[in-house]
């Protein structure tokens, strides 16, 4: 099971399934390979943004800054399984 962070923001992940659980950070535009979670049932992944100085108990946003936006530009926030 590979977790891919294709955002400009570092992400924190939690994963559990198959009787085990793990957590960690994924830098922006990087991935983490968790082979132990291959071929398991009911694997749940939670992903949240890691932003310094976020107050405890609050979640931080994934964010992007566009230097110059065009007409009809789209900004997509997605969570995909493949």
């Amino acid at each position: 099971m590979k977790l891919v962070n294709n955002t400009p923001t570092p992400a924190f992940y939690g994963i559990h399934g198959g009787g085990s659980g793990d957590c960690g950070n994924i830098p922006a535009h990087e991935s983490v390979d968790l082979k132990w979670y291959d071929n398991k049932d009911n694997v749940t992944i939670n992903l949240s943004a890691v932003v310094p100085k976020t107050p405890p108990g609050e979640s931080a946003p994934f964010s992007i800054t566009i230097p110059k936006s065009g007409k009809g530009m789209t900004v997509t926030m997605g969570l995909f399984q493949a």
Partner: protein
């Protein structure tokens, strides 16, 4: 500027640009927010996070295969 939510859960968004007024709102799962006032703007900041009470983006895979991949993405594309 169109904000697209492909996360399977509701998200809150914030958007600002140089010289403009900030905007915020929620987008339902698989929904969009059409904000043409942010076309042709400079330094457009867009932030997304899960709508409360959710604190994270979540997905459950009924069965994972070898080399299965879960990707979280935030991508800007298109526009002229």
């Amino acid at each position: 500027m169109i904000l697209v939510n492909e996360t399977r859960q509701q998200v809150d968004y914030w958007i600002t640009a140089d010289g403009g007024s900030p905007n915020c709102g929620s987008i339902d799962a698989e929904g969009i927010a059409d904000l043409p006032q942010y076309d042709h703007q400079t330094n457009v900041y867009v932030g997304f996070k899960p709508s409360l009470p959710k604190q994270s983006f979540t997905i459950t895979c009924a069965h994972t295969g070898t080399g299965e991949q879960v990707e979280i993405a935030l991508i800007a594309a298109g526009g002229k």
